[in-house]
Amino acid sequence: MTIPREDGRSAEQMRPIFVKTGVISQAAGSAYVELDKTKVMCGVYGPRQGGPGIDKVEFDRGRLDVDVKLATFATSGPRGKVAQGDAEREFSSIVHRALSGAVMTETFPKTTVDVFATVLEANGSELCATIAAASAALCEAGVAMRDLVSACTGGGADGPNALLLDPARGEEAAAEAGVTLAYMCRLGEASQVVATGTWDGESLDDAVQLAASGCARVDAALREALRSSVPA
């Protein structure tokens, strides 16, 4: 089954992925992830003492704080839209949930690790790029994790029957259904699945499989970048 795509890819082909770690000199760990035109930068700071309030401090584990910002020029259209704040909050909570399954918070009790990401350009699948950047940055910062979390989306304009891997912005907007999977490849565990649209059991299975194959690509790119950042 071949569907012509915006950028001439095949349905199950990802965009070229580029990962670079150690991009922010001030941060404990940082990463930059590019999925063709989608560009995300992430910095990890901490662990720092305490959290927002004494009642929220847990004594046997630490906290992970995630804050994602969308640059005003990330998308076209007039700047300073009200909806941007909502999108940022939603993004932050999704990324937080995707990572919290992997980060071993018991290794930094009573402290907080901050994950700050900025979406520089959004051209589809920016959520996946953010999750990937955050997990590479956490890894570079030396935060103990069970596995790297990579993420990928599978979705389709024609519903579950014609799935596209790693949709670009136009495809994302036209998609009627989609599955975003945050996956820990080495453990073979999914830390988060977000499915939109209507699915039947079998096609959802296919979509998750497809997204998992994308995650494997992302995982390989993350590992390669992290490995090459370590001096031999």
Binding site: I24, Q26, S30, D67, A71, F73, A117, T118
Partner: protein, 222 residues
């Protein structure tokens, strides 16, 4: 990192022949350990105003040239400067990014018809009709101001300080120059005063670095 967005809007009735330049500087929490999410950074406003001043005072941007149709439509240049990694001398880097983004920006082709309605993206051939006003091409950037920050630390002058040096410094002085002319000198407070000779040294430092920075921008367009 800087980006330019253009919006067509109605000019200020008090200045119908001028457009707008709106500079916003953002320090996202990612860029340094001291910026927290939530309230905007005071520094960001300061840097934004200085960049705006530098662009207008050096006449790099002439607001009059942003008019599409006098009294009706004018361009608003929305210039967003993002600090990705705050390692000192933010104003220097911010101004360079701003200039480069302005030079790179493409102005869409617009047509204002007789009734004052505006249409974007018209074809170039639509300009025959003499009643229509068409603007297209690039933003005119007439000057290339360069800012160089110098930190004063005890008896020493440190040109282009990084974040650590800036923190330890008693004061910083930023000199903005366009060619041989000084466009601005800023010394935002600090615990030490800068003597006249110190200031002259800072200007000299700016003059020394001017060419290299201007070349760096030119190289990006080569």
């Amino acid at each position: 990192m800087a980006a330019v967005k253009l919006e067509a809007c109605q000019p200020d009735p008090d200045a119908p022949d001028r457009g707008f330049l709106d500079v916003v500087v953002e320090f996202p929490p990612m860029c340094s350990a001291s910026t927290r999410p939530g309230r905007p950074n005071d520094d960001a406003h300061f840097v934004a105003r200085r960049i705006e001043d530098a662009l207008l005072d050096s006449a790099a941007i002439d607001k009059r040239k942003l008019t599409i149709k006098e009294g009706l439509w004018a361009w608003k240049i929305c210039l967003d400067v993002y600090c990705l990694d705050h390692d000192g001398s933010m104003l220097d880097a911010g101004l360079m990014a701003a200039l480069a983004a302005l030079r790179d920006a493409k102005v869409p082709h617009v047509i204002v018809d007789d009734r004052g309605k505006i249409t974007y993206g018209g074809r170039k051939t639509d300009t025959e009709s003499s009643n229509n006003t068409a603007v297209e091409g690039k933003i005119e950037v007439a000057a290339a101001p360069v800012a160089v920050t110098t930190a004063l630390y005890r008896k020493h002058l440190i040109v282009d300080p990084d974040a650590e040096e800036e923190q330890l410094a008693d004061a910083t002085v930023t000199v903005t120059m366009d060619g041989a002319t000084v466009v601005g000198v800023h010394k935002p407070g600090g615990t030490a005063e800068a003597s006249e000779t110190d200031l002259m040294h800072c200007v000299a430092a700016c003059r020394l670095n001017l060419e290299a920075r201007a070349k760096a921008i030119d190289a990006a367009f080569a």
